[in-house]
Structure formats: structure tokens, C-alpha cells
């Protein structure tokens, strides 16, 4: 009797799990059209407002602009497009602690010469500046308007962007 009950419960559980898991996956998983690979670079500080017109912050990224790089399919993505990286990217918060981002929203444009190849992603690392405001390099970072807009912190976002360098990464997107 007990064995029969166990079998019955196992059957019910299996029936519950298989289609339920599929339904869960279908409903929870984002509706992505594709997986892409491309070069990731980083930038920091610089302009307060990006190409989309809103304030740029950690969790945002730039890519090509279709008017400059019509050859890049990703250059046609609209502002606010969400991408999810295959693995998280480490950044820092104001006190220098590690924070990891794997979702980014498109809010800026760059690389007008289209030199970084298709599906290029430029990750924004933030505005943290750990140098005193009297430092001649305060809020300076190569590749962006300098001096830019930054906040006093224990971390330095420009160093984070430089140390990130250039990485070949996979991500999901539209």
C-alpha cells in the first residue's frame, strides 16, 4: 500500500515537474532573438548624459550608431535595449566594494569609425574618482570628455575601465 502510494506520488510529481518546468522556462526566460559575440571595452566618467539623452550610470552601455556604422546589425538596436552577458562583469561601488553586473541597457553610442567590429559593446563603469579634486588628473579618463562628471569615492571607475581592457564576450540581446 505504502509502495503504491509512493509510486503514485512519484508519478504526480513527475507529471508536475516536467511540463511545469517547461512552462516556467517558457514564461520566465526572456524572449531573446539571438546570442552574439563581440568585443567588450569599458569607459568611465565623461559626459553626464549619453546619446539617449538620459544620465549614464553603471548598468548602461554604448554601441555603434546605425548612422555611422550601418554595417553593424547591433547599431540598429533602439535606446533602452537590454543585453545579458554570459558571465558577470565586476565593477566597484562608491566604497570600493565589488558589484557584479550581467544586464546592461543601451543608452549611449561610440566608435564612429566602426573600428571595433560588429556587436561591439562599450560598458560604462561609473563615475567614481578616488583622487583629490586638486589632482590635475581629477576626473580625467582616456576616450571620454575630460574632465568629466564624477563623484568622490574610494574606487576609481576609470581604472576599472582601463583594467577591463578589451574582452571577447558572449551575450544575449534582441
Amino acid at each position: 500500500m505504502a509502495t503504491a502510494m509512493k509510486k503514485r506520488w512519484s508519478r504526480v510529481l513527475a507529471l508536475l515537474l516536467i511540463p511545469g518546468s517547461l512552462a516556467y522556462a517558457a514564461s520566465v526566460a526572456p524572449v531573446w532573438a539571438g546570442h552574439y559575440t563581440g568585443w567588450f571595452t569599458g569607459y568611465a566618467m565623461g559626459n553626464r548624459y549619453g546619446g539617449a539623452g538620459v544620465e549614464i550610470r553603471q548598468g548602461h552601455f554604448a554601441n555603434h550608431y546605425y548612422a555611422w556604422c550601418p554595417n553593424d546589425p547591433a547599431a540598429w538596436w533602439t535606446w533602452g535595449t537590454r543585453i545579458d552577458t554570459d558571465s558577470p562583469i565586476k565593477q566597484h561601488n562608491q566604497s570600493g566594494g565589488d558589484v557584479y553586473y550581467s544586464t546592461f541597457y543601451l543608452e549611449d553610442v561610440g566608435d564612429p569609425s566602426c573600428s571595433m567590429g560588429n556587436y561591439w559593446v562599450d560598458i560604462y563603469f561609473g563615475r567614481w574618482e578616488n583622487r583629490p579634486s586638486s589632482d590635475p588628473n581629477y576626473c580625467y579618463c582616456s576616450g571620454v570628455t575630460s574632465p568629466g562628471f564624477c563623484y568622490a569615492a574610494s574606487a576609481n571607475s576609470c581604472s576599472d575601465a582601463i583594467n577591463f581592457g578589451r574582452q571577447w564576450r558572449g551575450y544575449t540581446g534582441p
Binding site: R11, V12, L15, L16, L17, P19, G20, S21, A23, Y24, S27, V28, W39, N47, R48, Y49, G51, A52, G53, V54, E55, R57, Q58, G59, Y66, A67, W68, C69, P70, N71, W76, T78, W79, G80, R82, H92, N93, Q94, V99, Y100, Y101, T103, Y105, V109, G110, D111, P112, S113, S115, M116, G117, G126, S142, G143, V144, T145, S146, G165, R166, W168
Partner: protein, 625 residues
Amino acid sequence: MPNRWLLYDSGCAVCAALAQEVETLSGGRLGVRSLRDPGVRALLTRARPGWRWEPMLVEMEGERVRVFAGLAMRWRLVQLLGPVRALRAAQAVARHGGPLRGVDWGRRRFLNIAFVFAVILLLFRIQSARINTNSLNLSGNDIAGIPEVRQALTLKEVYRLLLQYAGRLSEMPTVTGLQSIDLPGDTADAGLDGRRRGWIGTLQTDREQITVRVEDGYVREALSQPLSEPLPSLPELVIDSPQALRQAQSAYPDLKPSSDLKGQGLHYFLGTTESGESVVGILGIRGKQRSRILVNSQSGRVVAAQTYTWAGEGGILYSTDGGRTWFASDLRGRMVKAIAISPGNPDVAYAVAPDPGGIVVYRTRNGGANWEEWGRLPPEAGDWPFDAVVVGNKEGRETLLVGTWTGVWQSRDGRSWSPVNGELSGPVQWLVGLESQSGERLFISVTAGEDRGLYAGTEDGRWTRIARGVYRLSPSVDGRSIIAVDEETPGQALLLQERKVQAIKVPASLLEAAGDFARDAAWLVRSPSGGVGLFRNDTDDVQWTLPGPIASVAVSPAYPTERVALAGGFRGGIFRTTDGGKHWERVLAWPSALIPGSDEIYEIVFLSPEKVLAIQGGRMTWQQR
């Protein structure tokens, strides 16, 4: 107590039987109604425009209507029924035979409802930030007992929707960002009434930042991320987007919706100025330039009007010793896109740059130190030059050709310009002239539109398609061959010569090549993956010798003997080799020390073995106008 209905497909006998059983099991907590009922469909059309044929749960309380679907519906059902009843519902599904053969997928979805009830019990510990529910407070005429709802929301409506959503969270967050976005189907007239269908909002608690996506009046997605950069809370606006738009258009009547495919129509955002003033931003165009008007969100005062334009940075660097040392030319503060050299005079070159009024061409006659305006392309040419080349004819007359969004434009004197497109349309992103015995032959790459492809032709505008697709062109140092890299098929390229087109293999991520392609077995190649390397086309081996982000590469005209080459970094300076690319030395660490700019060296061009030009990139920024 709200009225709750589970909507089911009455065209499916099993679904109907199952729905009745679930209703009984609910103990009065839940009723069932058919999706085929016109009243139900009318309700859904108003409360959830674009609804799909799937099981849904509707709750009505006063004027408030909530529609749950997908995971949110399952969650809600478990909350309403409790775990015991949910499990019994699952058993009922099992009795009805589970997933049925011969039942269409839509009907299977109905049958799967009960299965997933209990699965939710297992999954409810998973912190899914995704919510798929309509929680908009509805108002307006009630035609059939169902309140009216609009697809597109104003800034204030979406702000309140975010607050409603925030009320469900354990820790009450504040709104720190809100902007409208394009949704599929939006056109250039979207936002003219101060409303948009798509929005992204940012909520912030002490520990996390939640990005909420709103589509057609309901919260489609909410994603939690760690809080790194605390942003100031944006107070609820007094001035809503339609009113802010009227204020902006009153002050700036030339504000128009944009046809920019990154964001069409008029867009809205809630943000702060650099002085911390809370503003409603309206994004559109003024003239041909992307613009934003900022209106104080509390008083309605117009605070600023800005355009997105080149920041007055960038320009041309020059060297007179083969790239060892670099100087700033007097062409600075301009975003220069491409350089074309005169084949007949090593002191003459042309630089093309975007300009608010179109495209401007500068010319140097002393090897790059000094530049003067040589001409302006007509407005029909657009405002973005992709590439430029100078070609000579048999009589020695030179013509400058510029590739733009509207094709190829040519001029001999900078004053009169004519298109040489023939029947072609689309952006000419790369443009190279090839010296041949019969005169100059042109190769162009059209990278978007119906005519996308690689073409060969002459100045008279007759083009022959060589290949379909997107090709990036690199000229050989002797001007007698071209490498055309197929950007859509990694590792494939074409070697173009006067009367020969040869398919070749190249490194998979190659974008650009430099060297003597027809006669030398080893070329310099540039790839975003490897940097710059030496590629042996006879063995297909590549050795990456300058790793790092590199934006451009060029070899000296004396390359076959002297092996001097230069590489322009992507925010990394300028590099030089004297041994054909085996070893590199950084000769300029920070181009911005000479000319402020992006430190992205778009192009390097040798006028002679000694005279070299490099483009220091420019940047865009929002400027008051």
C-alpha cells in the same frame, strides 16, 4: 472582495471540464468564464491590449482591473487556492489525461495550468524579478462595466504605475529614473500627444536598483541589480508630459518628432540637471539635430534647450619623420572622419568632416600642418561622410570622391559636386580606387538597403556587382589590389585586382589589412580580437604581435623594403614598427595631449615615407542651443 475569473477556452471540452473542476475546488474563491465570451474579450481588449490566447486570471475591484497571465497568474492562483487545493487541481489534470495528443498547442497550454500550480510551490523560493501583470489603475467611461484603458501613458501615469508596483516590495523604493523607449510598431509620430507605449523606470532601495519595463500600460519586466551608484530620488512631477510638451513647443516651435531609428517620434524622460533641478525632458529634433528640451517638473519653466552635437574635439595629427614624432595640425576641434591623399602630390590631402550644415572638405598643401576649407557637399549628400578617395584620370586631373548615406559624390574643385551613383542606393561605407592600365577603377561597398553589396565601376556611375553582402575594403600599399573582408562570413575575403577577383581565407575576426597583397606573402592584419598581427596568406598562420584594442593600421609607401608601419590605438595611442610588425613601440601615448579628443585613431595615412597623417577622433555631447 474582488471578483476573480479564470478565463478558459470553452471550445475545448476537456478544458471546460477542467475549468469547472477548478472552480469547484476553489471553494468560491474563483469563477470561470470563457475566452470566447464577447464581454470577456471586450474586457481584455481594454484592460490588456494585444492579449494573447492563453489562460488568464482577471480580478476586478471597483475601478481597478488586474489581468494576470503566465507565471504571475500561476503565482496568484497558488496564493488564492493555497497549496492543498493547488495540488488537487494538479491531480484533476492528471485524471483528465494530462497533455493530450491531437489537442492544439493553445489548448495544451490551458491543460498545463494545473500542472504548474504545484511546480510553483517548488519554485516560489526562486526570486524571480519578472512580473507579468497589469496593475494600472483605470479610469474613464465604463461601457460594459469595464473601465477604459489607454495603451500609451503619460509620464505622470507611468510614474504612478511605478509607485504602485513599488508598493508590493518589502522595502519601499524611490523612483530615480524614467524614460520612454520605442516599442515594435512605434513610428515617427509617436509621442506627439505626450504619451508613449514603452517606458523604462528605475527604482532604488538601500540595497538594490530595480529596472522596470512598462509596455502598453502594464509592467512587463522588473530586474533587480545591486545598487552601486545611489541616484537622487525624483519627486512626483506636477507638470505632466503633455503639458511639458506644450511648454517646450511654445518656447521652441521648431521642436519636431525625430525619425531616428534609435528612438522615433518625441520621447520623454524624468531626470535632473547638473544643478540638481528635477526636469521633464523632451527629446526630438530641431532642424536636423537631435535635441532635448528640459522643463522644470514642478513649475513648468523651460530650463534648457540642448542639441547632441560634436563637442569641438578631435582633428588631424601629423608627422614629418615617418611617425616617430607627432604634432597637432591646425585642423582641430573638428570630428574628421576620413582622409584622401592626392596620388600626384605627397603634400596634398583632403579631410572630410560632418558639419551641422552637411559635410565639409578641408585640404592641406603642406603635408598636413595647415588646412583650409576646400568645399562643402550639397545638402542632398547628407551629414555623414563615411570614406573618401582621390582618383586621377589619364590626363592627370584629380577627382575627390566621398561616400555618404546617399551614395558617392564627386568634385574636381570643391565647388561643384555631382552624384555618381547610377542606379545604386544606400550608404557607401567604404570606397577605394584601384590603379589600372585603363585608368582608375572604383570599388565601393554599400552596406545597407536593397543594393547592399560590393561593386566595381568608374566615375561615370556604371556599377557592376561583384558580390552581395557587407564588405570592408583595405587598399594595398601599391594601389593595385584590395582586400575585401566579408563581414557576414568570418574568415572569408576577396582579393580584388584589375581583372581578377579571388576568394581567399583570412583570420576569422579580421577587419582590415595592410601591405602588398599581390606580391607579399605576409600582410599586417587588424582585428578587434587580436589587435595587429602578421598573417601569412600562404600558410594561413597569424601571429598577433600588438594585442589590445587597435582602431587602424597603415604601412609606409616604402614598406616592401623598409618595413615601417603604424597602428592607431582605440584609446591607446599610436604604435610604430620598423620590422614589418614583429615588434612595436608606442610613439604617442596620449593623443589628447596634442589635440583633445576621443584618443581613438580612426585612420593613419602615409603621404610619403616621411609624411604621415592621423585622425584623432571626436566626441559628441549635449550642448546648449
